[in-house]
Assembly symmetry: C2
Homo-oligomer: 136 residues x 2
DNA sequence: TTGCTACAAATAAAAATTATTAATTAGGAG
DNA sequence: CTCCTAATTAATAATTTTTATTTGTAGCAA
């Protein structure tokens, strides 16, 4: 089909409404985006969309594990389409989030750490905070 | 002096008000706590404290780098007194945050990763999400 | 075609955070 | 120790963020 996100929604058993498609297209384009960024961009192609619709859909898509929240120190949470495990470079100045490869070694160490602490490991998040090249 | 947090505040050039001392004592006791948890506990010893005072002080102490925000997926941010670098086990059910040792290897890999990506490394955060023993 | 269900827009309500203002106080100067 | 003052607080009020409600519509199944 022409748009991969329509397929994505359907594969998760969700209706591919124009609003949802727009939201996913926006997140896909930006990589990581917060609610306001998504709303502002989606409004351009769909001027009557309600902010509440963005909230409701983001929540629904996170619940269905199609999107993932990226909670940030100092900034509003961003959302990304779930993909292979990776790590994040997070700019303390502009809040930009960049994907980087996650070393497998780190994954193993984290699982060990969980076992040692009687903790049922599910997921790891390695966030590296610093200053991005455009803000430097 | 009897209370280490009074010294802590003064060493950061901050007035040691009863409100701030109570807030720090609470965070120290809980390890990691969000605004509401702090407010509820501090109210016991200081029933007239305002929630806005808790907000204002938390913000101030984070700015002075005496406290650190711990942003969490799905839960309100928690705050901890800044201490040696460490990692977090985060329970997806109850939101409890537990400190664990941070392998030095991971730190080195993260710095390398930053260099490779023209990113000015400042800080690392390794959050391990899963289910804690009491929730299991 | 009719009825059902999921969804959206519009709006209201609730929850979270920040700003304002007048009164109080911590900490230093004398 | 007493006084002074800038910093801080309590008590709101205001704003911002998030969630709930209501009503209408579109897609689909019987
Ligand atoms: Mn990512
Ligand atoms: Mn900690
Ligand atoms: Zn930046
Ligand atoms: Zn738990």
């Amino acid at each position: 089909m022409q748009n991969i996100n329509i397929e994505l929604l359907k594969s998760y058993g969700l209706k591919a409404t124009p609003q949802r498609i727009d939201i996913l297209n926006t997140i896909e384009k930006l990589g990581h985006a917060n609610i306001d960024e998504i709303y502002e961009i989606v409004k351009k192609s769909n001027p009557t969309i309600s902010l509440a619709t963005v909230y409701k859909n983001i929540t629904a898509l996170v619940e269905k594990a199609l999107l993932k929240e990226v909670a940030l120190n100092n900034f509003k949470s961003k959302y990304e389409i779930i993909k292979d495990r990776h790590s994040h470079l997070i700019c303390k100045v502009c809040g930009k989030v960049t994907d980087v490869e996650l070393n497998n070694e780190i994954l193993l160490l984290s699982e060990q750490l969980s076992n040692n602490n009687n903790f049922n490991y599910k997921d790891i998040e390695l966030n590296i905070y610093g200053i991005c090249s455009s803000c430097a």
